[in-house]
């Protein structure tokens, strides 16, 4: 992106001055190198988001922002329902509530290293991953609706996981206001065989070593100790979320055309929060969030089974579960006034600071854990939300590295088998049903997650707590 398109407000904060139909400015958190590497389309999409009715304060781009559809990925925007504010299916994305959770194994690298190969065999066998994989559970109609209302809480009630897990999931493991009657039969049918599956693309389950502690106090509060082993799971709401996204993008696009609303980009199609279509999407999207939470909970349960068979006594307590693609109703202070806002985070993580009332008691004193996934073979990070983040970005931070190269380019640049060999040479075991999939997810196809995380830390969006390095990666 050409820097001359932006005003520089500080070392790490850039502003798109309102122009044309923009109601608020666009704000980007980045340094010069990240701005230079960012696509011009991030500027255009952020400016477009700033034109939407009822947007409050600014449209924000996180340090890992890149070209999305409608909203940029790494975009944050809050809307006031009382000022005609909107909700947008494109502002949430297809993979509703795609996110990451991290489990603490309670074992050190010296104990796990000799078992790495057997651990990878067990996880590759037991965790359904990749295109064409099906889950071990098939839900009937009543169970499907109960899952969509209850999320991870439903899963725990069914025996998948522990009651204590729920205190470490956003919204206690179940998004309120989910309405399964707003989810189409087609969406439910897509999910019947997909509950408890990892998916494909950039989704993964990774066994990781705590390689560096940046903030000893926060790390201790989160249960992270140097050279101990954790397991991170990255996946979302599977076919159900994708179908909800597909159907509501269409109905919002057509409703906008029929209402004569001229949008700069059809993917920005949205509906007033206080409209029938808006309410319908909210109910369906929240059901999608619950589907993702239930999915990660079931995968957690399967993971615990596999790991404890090999390593009896491994604790596998849940550190936290974060969602990336959501719209959440939250209270925020804007211009000295407390407002009820609908905050879209698309490829962005909620990052509330210490003492925030929405945080579960287990982490409230420290702040929200922010789990930032790397790409296959590279580091991941644990950060913590800051008090300053509230004013900077409605309490939001980055979610990952972001692609630097298209899938197409990646397959022309790398061979999957060669990558698996190279990573094995560095002690990282990759398991995947597809070598082309591995090539598309090559570490070099992604931006450096370290620079994204450093920027989030330097700009005050979130603070670095620990760096995690991969031992085993089960790719979808």
């Amino acid at each position: 992106m050409d820097r001359s398109l932006l005003e520089r407000e500080s070392e790490f904060r850039w502003r798109i001055a309102p122009h044309g139909d923009m109601r608020v400015p666009g704000i980007l958190y980045a340094d010069e190198a990240l701005i230079d590497a960012m696509d011009r389309k991030v500027h255009d999409q952020l400016s477009n988001v700033a034109m939407l009715p009822g947007i409050v304060q600014a449209a924000y781009a996180m340090p890992d922002a890149h070209w999305g559809y409608g909203f940029p990925i790494g975009g944050v925007a809050a809307f006031d329902p009382d000022q005609g504010g909107v909700i947008s299916a494109g502002g949430v994305g297809f993979d509703i509530s795609c996110g990451v959770r991290t489990l603490l194994m309670g074992r050190s690298i010296t104990e796990v290293e000799p078992l790495k190969q057997r651990l990878s065999d067990g996880l590759a066998r037991d965790i359904p991953a990749g295109v064409g994989s099906t889950g071990r559970i098939v839900l009937d109609e009543a169970q499907m609706d109960a899952m969509l209302r209850g999320g991870a809480r439903w899963a725990v009630e069914q025996g998948y996981g522990r009651e204590a897990d729920l205190a470490r999931i956003e919204e206690g493991g179940a998004a309120a206001g989910a309405d399964p009657t707003q989810v189409s039969d087609r969406a439910k049918r897509r999910q019947r065989q997909e509950i408890g599956t990892l998916g494909s693309g950039n989704h993964y389950l990774e066994v990781q070593r705590v390689a560096q502690i940046h903030d000893p106090a926060a790390a201790a509060a989160f249960g992270l100790a140097l050279d101990e082993v954790v397991i991170s799971i990255h996946c979302g709401s599977r076919g159900l979320g994708h179908q909800i996204g597909t159907e509501f993008l269409r109905s919002m696009a057509i409703a906008a055309e029929e209402a004569g609303i001229r949008l700069p980009d059809r993917e920005l199609a949205c509906a007033p929060i206080l409209s029938a279509l808006g309410a319908s999407y909210l109910g369906a999207m929240r059901a999608g969030i619950n589907c993702a939470l239930a999915n990660r909970q079931i995968i957690t349960h399967l993971t615990r089974g596999t790991v404890t068979r090999l390593i009896p006594g491994a604790t596998l307590d849940l550190l936290f579960d974060v969602s990336h693609n959501t719209c959440k109703e939250e209270l925020h202070e804007v211009g000295g006034r407390r407002m009820r806002l609908f905050v879209h985070r698309k490829g962005a993580t909620r990052a509330f600071g210490p003492g925030h009332p929405d945080l579960p008691a287990a982490v409230r004193a420290v702040g929200q854990p922010v789990l930032v996934g790397g790409s296959m073979g590279t580091a991941s990070y644990v950060l913590v939300g800051t008090a300053a983040g509230e004013a900077l970005s409605f309490g939001s931070a980055c979610h990952g590295a972001g692609r630097a190269m298209s899938r197409h380019q990646a397959t022309r640049t790398w061979s999957g088998r060669q990558l698996v060999r190279e990573l094995a040479g560095r002690g990282i075991i990759i398991r995947s049903p597809s070598m082309r999939g591995v090539a598309e997810e090559a570490p070099g196809a992604y931006k450096d997650v370290g620079s994204v995380v450093d920027l989030a830390d330097a700009s005050g969006l979130a603070r670095k707590v620990a760096r995690l390095e991969p031992l085993v990666c089960i790719k979808g």
Binding site: W67, Y69, H242, S434
Partner: protein, 138 residues
């Protein structure tokens, strides 16, 4: 260019196609989308699945067609490689021929989440030929 090809999009993938008729463009776009998942030549068209869509414009019809195929791939765990399309005034009836996913043989790289309205175009060129493009979320 005859047929389909992929174009780059930061996080996802673009599919574009060109052909002599609108119907062929629909068929080529479906083939291009399949090629995101696996090599279409590896898919045997053993079973036909019928798909019907209705939409007010060719562009919306294209997104609906691709999303209907994403749906059929997902619920039937199938991949398709042979497509036949008939167009009505604002409707499409198509047949997709394919087979069950065979993970060893197809090595599917990625699952298509849905076709989007990004970079969406469906138009007739000056030389009378038709072309279309759209970004697919993977």
């Amino acid at each position: 260019m005859e047929g389909w090809r992929h174009f780059s999009h930061d996080a996802d993938m673009g599919v574009q196609a060109e052909a002599g008729t609108r119907e062929e463009v629909f068929e080529q776009m479906a083939l291009g989308m399949t090629a995101l998942v696996t090599n279409p030549a590896l898919i045997e068209p053993r079973e036909d699945v019928a798909v019907v869509c209705e939409a007010p414009s060719l562009e919306l019809l294209l997104v609906d067609w691709l999303n209907a195929l994403v749906y059929e791939m997902s619920v039937r765990t199938m991949l398709f490689s042979r497509f036949r399309v008939k167009l009505g005034a604002h409707s499409l009836s198509g047949v997709a021929g394919g087979e069950k996913v065979d993970r060893a043989r197809h090595e599917p790289a990625v699952e298509v989440k849905g076709a989007t309205y990004t970079a969406l175009e469906f138009r007739q060129r000056r030389d009378g030929r038709w072309e279309a493009r759209c970004v697919v979320d993977v």
